[in-house]
């Protein structure tokens, strides 16, 4: 509960601050208004832009559905980055892990012909396993050879992209009669059910049950960290690996475990995109999600609740941004700026720390300088 309030407060403050900066950007790029010196008009541009941003993310079933659909992969891949962070690893490879998981779930989705109650869980699980294996490679490389996970996960991203490109051209995956890399569609039974399927005929409500998968995954992540022995070991290793070694933890195996879980989460993100959003796979399956996930995890400080809150925020911005673009002159690119600003306001110091592995306590309350413990 305390965590929730704290992360809500941080996120809210960052949001307000970046909306203010965003407003300035809208005004100074509104050339017409500036030329005529009409600040009333500039103000109304800002007001309208933010109004449709808000309406596009929360106002009405359709907006909420869009927000949920955007949040789903962000949350799952955000968890992939978060759990690696908790174990002291910087996972840049959510993209590759998503692609891997997407492809395995895709295969289950079109190759088998079972009933929905079997196909859907099986395909999601296949995605988790595919992603986990792919993530595990980076963990294993680090544990065995010391190869830095930032480098290996970036390279594995490229490997995954080209692997997918190649796979989508094979007869096993490629849709018949198509020259471009597009996969066969999954069977109808394998599709994740629509959340608003009960509202007849509303095909525009794209939110699917992948969101429930993501929420369950978040719950699992919380349980793993707080309640399990392995979670305890992961946290200890991430916070102080020397102490973890001293305590007899197998820090190398834990690296692999952290990356297996990370890949599993990202793999499910790929799976829900394939099984829920698209129904097939293409090369743009992962998009930018794997990288946005880093921002989500940083903003959420890798906590389960924080990751959930920031994924929701980014999902909402994405949904709102599209409606803003459609309804006003402000381009959707502003959303990218806003997201970058939010992350900067909240997490830049954390990012710097994580990258340089600075071992220090959280800076809150001027807690930095404690003597030799004193």
């Amino acid at each position: 509960m305390k965590d929730l309030l704290k992360s809500l407060r941080y996120t809210l403050l960052a949001l307000v601050a970046s909306l203010l900066v965003g407003a300035i950007i809208i005004v100074i790029t509104d050339v017409d208004a500036l030329k005529s010196g009409d600040f009333g008009k500039a103000f109304s541009t800002v007001f309208n832009a933010y109004k449709s941003l808000f309406q596009g993310s929360f106002w009405g079933v359709r907006s909420i559905s869009n927000t949920i659909a955007g949040t789903t992969p962000l949350l799952l891949s955000g968890l992939a980055v978060s759990i690696a962070f908790k174990g002291g690893l910087f996972n840049i490879g959510a993209t590759g892990q998503m692609l891997a998981g997407g492809m395995t779930s895709l295969w289950v989705g079109f190759a088998f012909d079972g009933p929905g109650w079997l196909q859907v869980p099986l395909a999601v699980a296949a995605g988790a396993i595919g992603g986990a294996i792919f993530g595990g490679i980076a963990g294993l490389l680090k544990a065995r050879t010391g190869a830095h996970e930032v480098i290996t996960t970036i390279m594995l991203n490229s490997i995954a992209s080209f692997l997918v490109l190649w796979l989508l051209k094979t007869t096993l995956f490629q849709r018949e009669g198509r020259p471009d890399p597009i996969s066969k569609p999954i069977s109808e039974a394998s599709r994740l059910p629509r959340l608003f399927g009960f509202l007849d005929g509303r095909v525009d409500l794209v939110a699917h049950a992948g969101f429930i998968v993501a929420l369950l995954a978040t719950l699992f992540y919380w349980w793993l960290l707080k309640r399990t022995t392995v979670g305890f070991e992961l946290r200890a290793t991430g916070l102080n690996s020397d102490a973890a070694k001293y305590a007899g933890m197998k820090t190398k195996s834990l690296m692999v475990i952290a990356m297996l879980f990370a890949g599993g989460f990202a793999g499910m993100a790929g799976a829900t995109e394939v099984l829920g959003t698209y129904g097939y796979a293409s090369t743009s399956l992962a998009g930018n999600i794997g990288f946005d996930a880093i921002a989500v995890a940083l903003l959420g400080q890798s906590s389960p609740i924080g990751t959930l809150v920031s994924a929701l925020l980014f999902g909402a911005l994405q949904a709102g941004g599209r409606s803003m673009q459609a309804n006003t002159d402000v381009p959707v690119d502003l959303i990218i700026v806003l997201r970058a600003l939010i992350v900067m306001f909240v997490a830049a110091p954390l990012l710097v720390k994580a990258m340089f592995r600075v071992k220090s306590q959280v800076v809150s309350q001027g807690q930095t300088f404690r003597g030799w413990g004193g």
Partner: protein, 509 residues
Amino acid sequence: MKLELRGITKRFPGVVANDDVNLSISTGEVLALVGENGAGKSTLMNVLYGLYKADEGEILIDDSVVRFTSPADAISAGIGMVHQHFMLVPVFTVAENVVLGIEPTKRFGALDIDKARQLVREVSDRYNLDLDPDAIVEDLPVGVRQRVEIVKVLMRDAKIVVFDEPTAVLTPSEIIEFFSIVRTLIASGKGVVFITHKLKEALTIADRINVLRRGKVAGAADPKTATEAQIAEMMVGRAVQLTVNKKPATPGDAVLNVQNLSVVDPDGRKVVDDISFVVHAGEIVGVAGVQGNGQTELVETLSGLRRLNSGQITLDGKDVTHSSPRDLHTSGMGHIPEDRQLQGLVTGMSITENLVLTRYHDGMFSDGVKMKWPKAKEIAKELVANYDIRTSDPEQLASTLSGGNQQKVIVARELSRDIRLVLAAQPTRGIDVGSIEYIHEQIVKERDSGTAVLIVSTELDEVMALSDRVLVMYRGKIVAELDPKKVSHMDVGLYMAGSRPTESAGAKS
């Protein structure tokens, strides 16, 4: 300059760390600040240094009120602080570290490193610090690093310098050097605040001694007339046993048997050189030696954290030469590591979690998948009470504990396990006299119940008081085995320095 703290109150969730504290310090004097672990000494100094904002009270310089919102304010008002955990960049040179933040620059903002070097040399000469501006900090011993910190403070024109437990990590000879630096500082018109748990040091160097207790000023003592016992009583509120009370040991079977152990460090130096010794059940063996003579490596090897090059180690007759830390833990080894924040604790975890850090996998706390937190919390509560760990709530982060209380967490955890052997490196570093008494009692109790104890400490007094046998390490070898009841401190000191007393009273080898 006269600095005064008036009515300072600082609260943390659940505790009043400073409660209406008054204190003054002038240039030209050394004020020693002593008090139990968690009495609020560090907090008070952090308030003075602008790191914490006091909830109540004010700071006066030469009778006018000043307000510090950050260390920068305190520094410009002439206050300097040397923290125990040094704030140095290991890969930089001394000169680069010293000018960090106040870099002298040439045109276009280029760093004027020659100027920096010269500045370091000047300050170092003026106060007899003997520093090489071009040395890389990570190559320097702790005592020298501390002098780098001192130069940093002096370069920023500090008039009052605060030292928070500066001697806790220093070797006895470094402590003597440190005192002569303090005297030089005083002679050149600075004032010094000196926090310590070693009352002898306070009596040696201080002009005045102030005692804090549970956040309040408990009184002042005059170093010319006061005794250690009096100050200890003022700190703790009861008479403290300053010597160790123990019966003669009744050694049983060999528990730890080390044969021809050699360890070579990554640079190829032989840090532990063909060592053999035995620790029996029911005895305390102390390893004395000047820091850096292989004790650290010896303990790390025995605890499974470092690879050995040759030799054999057995625990209760079982070969554990290549065992992992986990195997050693389950075979009954307890280990109090030398550096509490580096190894002994995960400060970002709760006190409870730290109290089970080395036995969380035990069936009592884990069923293999899930942790049994209620059980862990129950044990934590017990340990917090028994070891007098000062906290309002064991679910708080270990980083909120005062330094000495962090140490108590480690000692409590390691001694409360089911153990056959304890490796204790600097077990009472940073701990107040009252708690030292308790910890020593616990160690003796462990011994009497048949545990083998190996104490490694640079604190000669502690080794001599606690041990039944003393081994002296010098340059990776054991150069003497002594009976602490029969040798003088002086003689042990000579062995530690690599020479041999002429009349080898009490020496067995």
